[in-house]
Amino acid sequence: MRLDIRWPIGLMFTAIGALLAVYGAVTLGRPGTAPTGIPVNLYWGLVMLAFGLAMLAGIRKRTTRDG
């Protein structure tokens, strides 16, 4: 069996999502971090983190079902 593609996708988005979310949380309120008034790093980081975790959860589910 090949590498399940959801591994790299899940891991990469978990990593980048967590990175941006933490950075967004730490820099919250600093000038220049929200050019549109929305703390986008924090919010979009959380969205990507959720997407990455969902991908990883998909692998677990299939593995349990198969075996």
Binding site: R2, L3, I5, P8, I9, L11, M12, F13, A15, I16, L19, L20, Y23, G24, T27, R30, P31, G32, T33, A34, P35, T36, I38, V40, N41, W44, G45, V47, M48, F51
Partner: protein
């Protein structure tokens, strides 16, 4: 040259994480590559949703992201025709009707199908033109990316293109097509996540879709069109003069929707190769259909930011602290003002503010003098290619900006990897194995595939430098490729659906179609261009088109028709091939695929119908 923004450590970290993952995929997938089939066709082992996303991602190069943003700013919502008319119907056609012959014929490439169906010379013509085209187009996009990164963030041209090409080389060299496909799926998600916030934040800034319509209405009337010309895709297509595209509906539907679109999606090995890597006939047929769903939604991510770039205002609150992290907010508008202020003051005084720039799109600078360029009426020429990048700079703070630029590089890499993997396959199977060293063992061809990968990347790099020093040579090459491509779909359609078509017919048809394209282009001219230049009219001017696109579409229509007619005529005059040689290659001699027992979403015809209805609905909504 000054640049528009500066990156910080967080941007670089996002980029490095991405680089780390793409290279790791190459190393991990190397273990699965033992034969040339593993390397060139990924062992035909990949599920449909993965090949489907790779199918669209290989096409989603940087030129697509940048170019469609630019067109969004130039033509407005009508740019969606490149998707809803110029891609979706052809994607359904290739999946439902053509894939049985590509996948079922045991051909390993599109030129090889031509060899099985027609003859050696038809394959040779297609293989050589395709191989040349892929390396040069990846060189052109390499050049575009290097120039863009230099302008945006001040990286050196050499470093940018060497790093990007180096990473693509590593993962395609190690893991072959499988590695390219896996990375394309990763890149697809990255492009979506990197660009989606742009449309959202931009729309929010202008007051939603209705706000965008309102603001673009004033741009439309200022340019002499009806108020809805930039936000309605079909309403103004009655006459070429009434829409910013400069094309009427017939030229659009036939030229773009039929000839160019089917010629690309149904015959270009770059995309077809992804479907050929699928793990079953059914998966191969569903590949383009699965790809069609994200493809038809792509305009919201790549075209809308371009439209927004025309009308968004500059930064609301210019930051006072221009420290390291905040220095980025030197906005496009400010930079554009700077560019204009280098003009002699007399010129500046005559120009009303609205004439200086539009939204965040800066003026195009003359490469020789560094001064902003002006058209014959003295108005600034805008650099539309910067529409999307400027939106990134305008709306993304540090962090998200790193993600956006990484997405831009990912789009570039997926396009380049697509070109390189298609090149090494056609080179190894259709040129090297056929004409240079036939009859060697499989290991030999696997080795050749790896060498061809290095070679392909090296030529791309060389082409990027050629493009940097002689822009006209590249324009000329692209023109020649367009001539070669325009008639292709006639050859494939006749080959697959008319068993009487012969090799001599196909070859003469292709040649005369290509010639017809050159002659038509040489006898016509888009409005405002100089006769005898690369824009056309070098044999004299019989007709003037309202725009370059109209000329392109009509050139394609002429080429296709010529190829179609000549192929039929010559086929009827030459000896037909016996039926038994063409089993599995022609519609009439191939058993129909049975999929009646499957659920609808696994049946290509049903899935295709859903795709077409969805595309129709989108056309109606944005009519």
């Amino acid at each position: 040259m000054t640049h528009f923004t500066t990156l910080t450590w967080i941007d670089y970290t996002v980029m490095l994480v991405y680089f780390g993952f793409v290279i790791s995929i190459g190393f991990i997938l190397k273990r699965y590559v033992h034969t040339s089939t593993d390397f060139f066709l990924s062992g035909r082992s990949i599920p449909a949703w993965v090949t489907g996303l790779a199918f669209i991602s290989a096409n989603l190069g940087a030129q697509e992201v940048i170019g469609m943003g630019a067109s969004g700013a130039k033509y407005g919502i009508a740019t969606c025709h490149f998707y809803w008319v110029g891609a979706i119907p052809a994607m359904v056609f290739v999946g439902v009707l053509m894939m049985p012959f590509y996948y079922g014929s045991r051909a390993r490439s599109v030129p090889e199908y031509l060899k099985l169906r027609f003859d050696e010379k038809t394959r040779g013509f297609n293989a050589i033109s395709f191989a040349t085209m892929t390396v040069f187009s990846s060189g052109i996009s390499l050049y575009a990316m290097g120039k863009l990164l230099n302008l945006l963030v001040g990286w050196s041209f050499d470093t940018s293109i060497l790093i990007a090409a180096g990473i693509v080389l590593v993962y395609t060299f190690l893991g072959g097509l499988g590695s390219a496909i896996y990375n394309e799926v990763l890149q697809f998600f990255l492009i979506v996540f990197g660009f989606a916030p742009l449309a959202f934040l931009g729309l929010r800034d202008v007051g939603g879709w209705s706000g965008l319509q309102e603001r673009l209405a004033s741009v439309a009337t200022a340019n002499g069109f009806a108020p809805g010309a930039y936000t309605e895709s079909w309403s103004h297509m009655g006459h070429a003069a009434s829409n910013p595209v400069g094309v009427e509906w017939f030229g659009l539907v036939m030229g773009l929707g039929f000839v160019l679109s089917f010629g690309y999606w149904c015959t270009d090995f770059l995309v077809v190769q992804r479907a050929m890597a699928a793990n079953s006939m059914s998966a191969a047929r569903r590949t383009p259909l699965i790809a069609a769903f994200p493809k038809m939604l792509m305009p919201f991510i790549v075209i809308v930011p371009g439209m927004l770039a025309l009308v968004v205002g500059p930064q609301a609150q210019p930051p006072r602290d221009l420290g390291a992290a905040e220095a980025r907010v030197e906005t496009a508008a400010l930079a554009a003002d700077l560019a204009v202020s280098r003009q002699p003051s007399a010129v500046r005084a005559q120009e009303p503010v609205i004439e200086r720039t539009r939204g965040v799109i800066p003026p195009k600078l003359d490469p020789a003098t560094g001064e902003p360029m002006r058209d014959e009426r003295g108005r600034l020429v805008l650099d539309y290619d910067l529409a999307t990048p400027m939106m990134l700079v305008r709306f993304f703070p540090a962090g998200l900006l790193g993600l956006g630029l990484t997405a831009l590089m990912a789009s570039f890499m997926s396009g380049m990897a697509g070109n390189v993997t298609a090149f090494n396959t056609v080179w190894t199977y259709d040129i090297y194995q056929s004409y240079i060293r036939p009859g060697k063992d499989d290991k030999h061809y696997l080795g050749m595939g790896r060498i061809a990968t290095v070679f392909g990347v090296a030529i791309s790099l060389a082409a990027a430098y050629v493009a940097a020093s002689f822009n006209n040579i590249m324009d000329l090459l692209q023109l020649v490729f367009a001539f070669v491509n325009a008639p292709l779909f006639a050859t494939f359609a006749l080959g697959m659906f008319w068993k009487r078509a012969t090799g001599h017919g196909a070859f003469t048809g292709l040649l005369s179609g290509t010639l017809a394209a050159a002659v038509h282009h040489g006898l016509t001219l888009p409005a405002g261009a100089v006769a005898g230049s690369i824009k056309g009219g070098y044999f004299g001017v019989l007709q003037t088109f309202p725009s370059e696109l109209a000329q392109t579409f009509w050139t394609a229509i002429v080429a296709w028709t010529t190829c179609f007619v000549v192929t039929i005529a010559v086929s009827l005059l030459t000896k037909p091939r016996p039926d038994e040689e063409m089993k599995g290659l022609v519609y009439a001699l191939t058993p129909i695929q049975k999929d009646a027992g499957e659920p609808w979403h696994r049946r290509p015809a049903a899935l295709g119908a859903v795709v077409l209805v969805a595309a129709l609905v989108l056309n109606v909504i944005f009519w």
